[in-house]
Amino acid sequence: MNTMPQPDQRDASLEDARLDIMLRQVWDTPRGLWGALATVDHKVIARRYIITAFVFLAFGGVLALLMRWQLARPEGQLLGPDVYNQAFTVHGTSMMFLFAVPVMEAMAVYLVPLMVGTRNIAFPRLNAFSYWMYLVGGILLWGAFIVDLGPDIGWFAYVPLAGPQYGIGKRVDIWAQMITFTEISALAVAVEIVVTVLKQRAPGMSLDRIPLFVWAMLVTSFIVILAMPAVMVASTSLILDRLVGTHFFNPAEGGDVLLWQHLFWFFGHPEVYIIFLPAVGMISAMLPAFVRRPVFGYIPMVLALVGTGILSFGLWVHHMFTTGLPRLGESFFTASSMAIAVPSGIQIFCWLATIWYGRPVYRVPFLFILAFFFTFIIGGMTGVMVASVPLDTQLHDSYFVVAHFHYVLVGGAVFPLLGAVYYWFPKFTGRMMSERIGRWVAGLLFVAFNFTFFPMHLLGLLGMPRRVYTYQTEMAWGGLNLFVSVSAVMLAAGFLLFFLDAIRSARHGEPAGDNPWGAATLEWATSSPPPSYNFARIPLVQSADPLWDAGDELPVTSGLRVDRRELLVTTVGGALPEARESSPRCSLWPLWSAIATTALLMGSIVTPWAVVWGSVPVAIALIGWFWPGGSKEDES
């Protein structure tokens, strides 16, 4: 950094205490309501994101319990068909769009800037905007459900059931616009993460030194950017069909019913990997701390992530094996669906090799990793089964599939996520979660999860279709369903315990210290919780495990200005310093833009003219947002 010019207000000449004060002045979010609404601090926004997502998880869980109550006995009387259909739609939609994707992206919003050693995420105002959009989308869905306007067409909203003729009322429009809200927010976050990872890494963090979690998030973000437009096209076409009478999905006028399925699953299958890859990254991030050695096979791991990302776009048809597509085409998708087992296998074998030569420390996050191994591999195996065309004709749309995707999504994503919450909780709050309660949580969830979902495989083989609000006494499903429902209560108890522990520990947990797990990545190089500016001096990375290899003193860089928000831009490949870039200050414009966009999208549920008139406030808000500021953006 010696090449940089040296005016007065650089950090190089300042001692640590003085530097801290000056950085705080520049980076801290102001207190009070204005600060809360205008903040662009990635940590504050990510915390909100995570908490909101877990609230939606809890809501979705309550719906799941209601459904299980209804199905516990044949001819259940708790929910009628109308409410039940809304319940499973809102449960699925909520878990996919309001919990799983946002919570994974939120973890990345919090951790990626810290892991790559920068002071804020790229496009912080876009980040603030994305949270507001997400929040509104969630409130829209749940508000609608509470006033009996909840969508009742399943989370994949097949036409014609969701189309203008059979999707009666505004329920489907609300679903489709909820998709728009959450997709806007997901796309925004994906763009931020890509740019943060590619351009804001600490000097020296070349591509082969990026932590695996960051790699996973990079791949995930690219999947989001490539896959989400498909569902936005689909949901927009659906709204157009419903609202202005277009014929995208009307066979009589040259549309196609299956077009919806193609568009939806072209997004829907990568969606699974959008949820799964971050979880894989979390495992790779946590595992080294608990076996005391780096993950075996960095390059194969990265290649497996990228390979999964690419292959994930080649499998969407395996959701449509029973629609009567040409056999040869279906066989191709069988092959590609099974091929994705290979990169997943590579990662699992690399982790096994890591554990084999490591000395495991059985802390709570590690227990969740073990639970992941047990359950996710079952989910992967059943995934190979549903990828086979002939087998899928028996398994498709039966409870077997319900079991399969819960094994993949809960076993493959939620278990690592909960482990990750235990692991990074000290980073988020400065306090540890309870180890003792954590063991109970892990054990309870593991046992209850398998009790709840394993019998569903069998129910599916015994002919129980998905999405039925009841079944008859003469079907042989009563006993297993009762067992499943009782286990579901146990599962809910596990989650409740987790929530209580998290809430308690946030205030009364044991103080953690900067690096409680002795981990190697950069987010542990700053205090817990990190200051608003993340790092007083940007670290200089010299290996893939900087905190393990650098000894006591992590080398740092200097030369950034301290009188304004500034961060370091580096090259894509070798992370060589390129420029100093100013980072935006707090602003209300993202909120105004979100409000204007909300008015437009909500209005468009009722009348297409809302798009025309609503674009005016959106334009005003965007002009205000992008009005050229006084300061020069970059300095090389």
């Binding site: 109308d82 059979y166 009567g324 290979v342 394993f454 069998l458 002919g463």
Partner: protein, 327 residues
């Protein structure tokens, strides 16, 4: 996975009592049997793999000896590489197996019996095309001869449905604007239950049908009986029932051949009492069930398209007597 095999076999034994009802684990035809074999193969192979991975994991957690970094690296690389190669082999093998299973579409030498099935919200219209354009229309119960291939031509009237009789074959969707076909054969006489497998709206859960496989002779007898018009009322009560049926809204939706009821919106009721179930698998066919259903269909199957038609007790008695006589 071993637990699964245990469970599967336990369920199989438990289920032998209710054999033939609605289960993929109790195949009654070549199509379902080949799927059942494929399923068993997949479960054994994949379960074995899962078990191996779990054993390696357990061993990895158990062992304490740490090798020197160099050898550890080399050995791990070999092990991981070998495991990946094995994965590729297994996956290719399974792909090939499923390709072969889907190619071996079991079609006998016999001319298949063609049946047209149309899915509606929430019942099944069944049509047996006749030689002279005289189609036999019935609903919710499909009779087939044993041992002869059956070719079901699937279509949908409103939304997507899916035709699934797990004991006989895998499912096939019924999609508006598309024609799908499902061919299968039943080995043994019996009654097999099927159910709609694609979510189709409010009463998706109550959209079942029966397949009755019987010998060619009894199938022919059944078909001849079904082709006949409805029998004349046997007694005074039945005659009154028929009158009520024709005068009240019933006839606007239902057809009973041989009477003035010619509606086509609802299922054909010409021989309703010969079917085993009422309202797409909701109630077993009895006179009481017919009365209950006619009196209040919206409580029994909320949201279905049959309205609550106000009838007096006497009218209800008469209508149910008439319907129960339509064998």
């Amino acid at each position: 996975m071993r637990r699964r095999i245990l469970l599967v076999s336990a369920a199989l034994t438990a289920c032998s009592g209710c054999s033939g009802w609605q289960s993929a684990l109790d195949p009654q035809g070549p199509a379902a049997a080949s799927l059942d074999r494929l399923l068993l193969g997949f479960v054994l192979v994949l379960g074995g793999i899962w078990l191996c991975v779990m054993l390696v994991l357990a061993a990895g957690l158990w062992r304490r000896a740490a090798a020197t970094p160099g050898t550890a690296r080399r050995r791990s690389a070999w092990a991981v590489g070998g495991a990946c190669a094995a994965t590729v082999l297994v996956v290719s093998g399974l792909t090939l197996a499923s390709y072969l299973a889907s190619r071996a579409a079991p079609l006998g030498q016999d001319e298949p019996l063609v049946i047209r099935v149309r899915g509606l919200q929430w019942w099944w219209e069944v049509v047996y095309p006749g030689a002279d354009g005289q189609d036999l229309v019935t609903a919710n119960e499909i009779h087939i001869p044993v041992g002869r291939p059956v070719r079901i031509e699937l279509s949908a009237a409103d939304v997507i449905h899916s035709f699934w009789v797990p004991n006989l074959a895998g499912k096939q969707d019924m999609i508006p604007g598309r024609d799908n076909v499902l061919t299968f054969t039943a080995w043994e006489a019996g009654t097999y239950r099927g159910q709609c497998a694609e979510f189709c709206g409010m009463q998706h859960a109550r959209m079942a049908f029966l397949i009755v496989a019987e010998s060619q002779e009894s199938f022919d007898r059944w078909r001849a009986a079904q082709e006949a018009e409805a029998a004349a009322p046997a007694g005074e009560e039945e005659a009154r029932g028929r009158q009520v049926f024709e005068q009240k809204p019933c006839g606007a939706c239902h057809t009973i051949r041989g009477t003035e009821a010619r509606g086509t919106t609802g299922p054909d009721l010409t021989h309703i009492a010969s079917r085993q179930y009422l309202a797409a698998g909701v109630l077993p066919m009895t006179r009481g069930a017919l009365a209950a259903w006619t009196a209040d269909p919206q409580t029994i199957k909320p949201g279905n398209n049959m309205p609550l038609v106000p009838l007096t007790a006497a009218e209800l008695q008469a209508v149910s007597a008439w319907l129960a006589s339509l064998r």
